[in-house]
C-alpha cells in the first residue's frame, strides 16, 4: 500500500512566558522525535491526554506550524521544503476535520461557500463545477444539496460536523486529519459521524489520522494506534495488539482507567493528581 503520510524525527518546542523579567524563556517540548507512517485506506489513531502533544502533531501535519527538527512527508513531498505555490497545490490532497463544529465554520458564510473554499485554490475549476462538487459532497455526507444555502447556525451540532466533513472531502483528498471529530457532539450523534467517516474512508480509500483522547473510540475506529505521552510516542502498533497487550506502563495506566474499572478509594486519597 502506498504511504500517504510519514513523519520522521519530528520535534517542536514552544516558548513559554518568562518567569522573571529578562530571565531565560522556558520552552515547552510539545513534540519530541515523533516518527510514524500512514498508508492509503488505513486509520491511525493518536491517543493521549490533553497536553500530550497530539494536537501539535495535527498542526504540524497540516502545515499550520513548522517543526524545529524532522521531516513531514505528505504524498511523497516534504511539506516544509516545498515552495509556497506547490504546497498550495498539494493542499487539496490533505484536509482536516476539527473538533468543534461551531468554531470550524465561518458563521457569516453559507455552508455551501465554506465547503467550496478548498476548491478556490484550483483555477481549473469554474463556478458551475465547484457548485456541482459541493452538491456531491453534501450528498456524500448525508445532507441535501439545498442545505448549502443555509448558515451554520441553522444546523444542529451533528449536521454541522457533516458539513465540516463535506468540506474535508470536497477536494477528494488522500489524507484526512480528524482531530477529536466527535467529542463535541451529543452521544447519540457520535455513532452517525463515526459510521460516516468509515463509509467515506472505504469509498475513497482515504488515509485517516484519527486524534482522540477516547480509547474506546480509537479502538473502534482505528487499525493502528500511537499512544502519546508528554510529547512522545511511547507505544504504537495494531490496535488489538497495543490495547490487549500493552508493553508500556503508561499505556497500561491509560487502559486501566476509571472509565472501565473502578479504582481503589484508598489509592485516591494518597495519590492525588
Amino acid at each position: 500500500m502506498s504511504v500517504v503520510l510519514s513523519l520522521s524525527g519530528v520535534s517542536r518546542a514552544y516558548p513559554l512566558p518568562r518567569r522573571r523579567l529578562l530571565g531565560p524563556r522556558p520552552m515547552l517540548q510539545a513534540l519530541s522525535d515523533a516518527s510514524l507512517t500512514l498508508s492509503a485506506g488505513e486509520t491511525l489513531g493518536i491517543v493521549g491526554e490533553s497536553g500530550s502533544g497530539k494536537s501539535t502533531l495535527a498542526r504540524l501535519v497540516m502545515g499550520f506550524d513548522r517543526p524545529d527538527a524532522g521531516r513531514i512527508t505528505v504524498l511523497g513531498q516534504d511539506i516544509n521544503a516545498l515552495p509556497a505555490p506547490e504546497l498550495r497545490r498539494l493542499r487539496a490532497g490533505f484536509q482536516m476535520v476539527f473538533q468543534d463544529p461551531f468554531g470550524s465554520l465561518d458563521p457569516r458564510r453559507p455552508v455551501g461557500w465554506s465547503i467550496a473554499e478548498p476548491l478556490l485554490a484550483d483555477p481549473a475549476l469554474d463556478a458551475p463545477t465547484r457548485r456541482k462538487r459541493v452538491a456531491e459532497a453534501l450528498e456524500q455526507v448525508g445532507l441535501r444539496p439545498a442545505d448549502g444555502a443555509k448558515f451554520p447556525h441553522q444546523f444542529s451540532g451533528g449536521q454541522r460536523q457533516r458539513v465540516a466533513i463535506a468540506r474535508g472531502i470536497v477536494t477528494r483528498p488522500r489524507l484526512l486529519v480528524a482531530d477529536e471529530p466527535v467529542s463535541a457532539l451529543d452521544v447519540s450523534m457520535q455513532g452517525q459521524i463515526l459510521n460516516l467517516l468509515s463509509d467515506l474512508q472505504a469509498q475513497m480509500g482515504l488515509a485517516m489520522l484519527f486524534i482522540s483522547h477516547d480509547l474506546a473510540l480509537v479502538a473502534h475506529q482505528c487499525d493502528r494506534v500511537a499512544v502519546m505521552h508528554r510529547g512522545r510516542i511511547v507505544e504504537s502498533g495494531p490496535v488489538a495488539q497495543v490495547f490487549s497487550h500493552p508493553r508500556e506502563s503508561y499505556t497500561r495506566s491509560l487502559l486501566a482507567r476509571p472509565e472501565t474499572k473502578s479504582a481503589d478509594n484508598r489509592e485516591l486519597v494518597n495519590n492525588t493528581p
Binding site: 451529543d186 450523534m189 482507567r257 476509571p258 493528581p273
Partner: protein
C-alpha cells in the same frame, strides 16, 4: 428529603422540563442522564431555586416538608449551602481568581455558620484533607490558578461541603478534566456521599461516569424523564428505546479490542436525526420522529409511565422494550 412533583419549567410556553416527579431520599445517589437540551441542567438549578428568571416554574418542590417551588429568594438563600450545594462543570470559572483557596472555602462558613476567622480556617483545612488535597496548610494560601484542574475541582467540592449540605448537586463535574483525573473526582464524590450520608444528584451525559457513581438513575430526553431505575439494571437492560440507543451509540472498549487485526470494523448503532430544538419538540412522546419502534400514536400522545416488575423501574413509553435475555 426532596420530593419533586409535576415540576415543569417552561420558556415562552415551551416546556423544557415536563412534569417531572422524583424523590431524593437522604444519602441517595441519583444520576440525571441525557444529552444537551434534555432539561437535566435546568432541573438541577431548580433544585437550588436557581432556575433562570425567564423560566416559568410550576409544580412542587418539597424540601423536608417545606414547599419551595414558589418560595421567595430569601428563603432559598437560607437553604443553599446548608441544605443543598452545587459543584459546577468548569472549576476555573467557578472559582474567583482573586481569592485564596482558604477564603473561598471559609466564606460560606463565615456567612452561614457565623464562624470566626480561625475556626473557619481550621474547618477549611479539614475539608481539604477530606477531599484529598495533600499539604492542605500550604494550599489554603494559594490562588486557584496555582492548582491543577483536578485540585481546583476538589477545592470547589470542599467549598460546597463547607456548610454540611444534605444534598450535593454536581453538574457535569468532570467534563473539563482529563480521564484519569475525572475518574478520581467521581470516586471522591461517591465516597463523600457515603461517609457523610449526603444525597448526591449527579448530572452527566456520560453513562460510564453515572454507572460509576450512582445507584439510581433518571434518563431525560426532551424535558421528559423517559426511564428510571437502579443504575446497574437500567444499563444492563434498558426498556426505553432512547436509553438503549444511548447505550449502544458508544463503542465499548472491552468488546472492540477483541476485534482481530484486519477484521472489518463493526458499525456503531446510532440514533437517527438529532435532538430537536425546544420549540420543535413533538407534543406526544418527545422521542417521536427518532424512535426505531415508533407507532402512529406516539407523536400525538404523551405516553403514561409504566411500572416494570416489582417496583423500582419505570419507563415512559407506549411500547417499552422487552426485558433483555440475560444469560444465567
Amino acid at each position: 428529603m426532596y420530593k419533586i412533583r409535576n415540576l415543569s419549567l417552561s420558556f415562552d410556553g415551551h416546556e423544557a422540563v415536563r412534569s417531572a416527579s422524583f424523590d431524593i431520599p437522604r444519602g441517595a445517589r441519583l444520576g440525571l442522564v441525557g444529552e444537551s437540551g434534555c432539561g437535566k441542567s435546568i432541573t438541577a438549578l431548580a433544585l437550588l431555586g436557581m432556575a433562570p428568571a425567564s423560566a416559568r416554574v410550576s409544580g412542587s418542590i418539597e424540601i423536608d416538608g417545606q414547599e419551595m417551588a414558589a418560595a421567595p429568594e430569601r428563603l432559598w438563600r437560607s437553604y443553599r449551602a446548608r441544605k443543598v450545594a452545587m459543584v459546577f462543570q468548569e472549576p476555573l470559572s467557578a472559582l474567583n481568581p482573586l481569592k485564596r483557596v482558604g477564603d473561598i472555602i471559609a466564606e460560606p462558613m463565615r456567612l452561614h455558620l457565623r464562624l470566626d476567622r480561625r475556626a473557619a480556617r481550621a474547618r477549611a483545612r479539614d475539608l481539604l484533607v477530606e477531599v484529598g488535597i495533600p499539604d492542605p496548610e500550604a494550599r489554603l494560601d494559594q490562588y486557584p490558578h496555582q492548582l491543577s484542574g483536578g485540585q481546583r475541582q476538589r477545592v470547589l467540592i470542599a467549598a460546597a461541603l463547607s456548610c454540611d449540605p444534605q444534598l450535593l448537586v454536581a453538574d457535569e463535574p468532570t467534563t473539563a478534566l482529563d480521564a484519569h483525573v475525572a475518574g478520581r473526582i467521581l470516586d471522591l464524590l461517591k465516597r463523600l456521599s457515603e461517609t457523610r450520608d449526603m444525597a448526591l444528584v449527579f448530572i452527566s451525559h456520560d453513562l460510564e461516569a453515572v454507572a460509576r457513581v450512582t445507584e439510581e438513575m433518571l434518563v431525560m430526553y426532551g424535558g421528559d424523564i423517559v426511564e428510571r431505575g437502579p443504575t446497574a439494571q437500567l444499563l444492563a437492560d434498558p426498556r426505553h428505546p432512547y436509553t438503549k440507543g444511548l447505550i449502544e451509540a458508544r463503542p465499548r472498549l472491552d468488546a472492540l479490542t477483541l476485534r482481530a487485526d484486519g477484521a472489518p470494523r463493526p458499525r456503531l448503532a446510532s440514533i437517527p436525526g438529532s435532538v430537536p430544538a425546544l420549540a420543535d419538540l413533538p407534543k406526544g412522546c418527545r422521542f417521536a420522529g427518532r424512535c426505531p419502534i415508533e407507532r402512529p400514536a406516539c407523536a400525538g400522545l404523551r405516553p403514561a409511565v409504566s411500572v416494570l416488575g416489582p417496583g423500582q423501574r419505570q419507563v415512559r413509553c407506549l411500547a417499552p422494550l422487552l426485558p433483555a435475555k440475560v444469560p444465567a
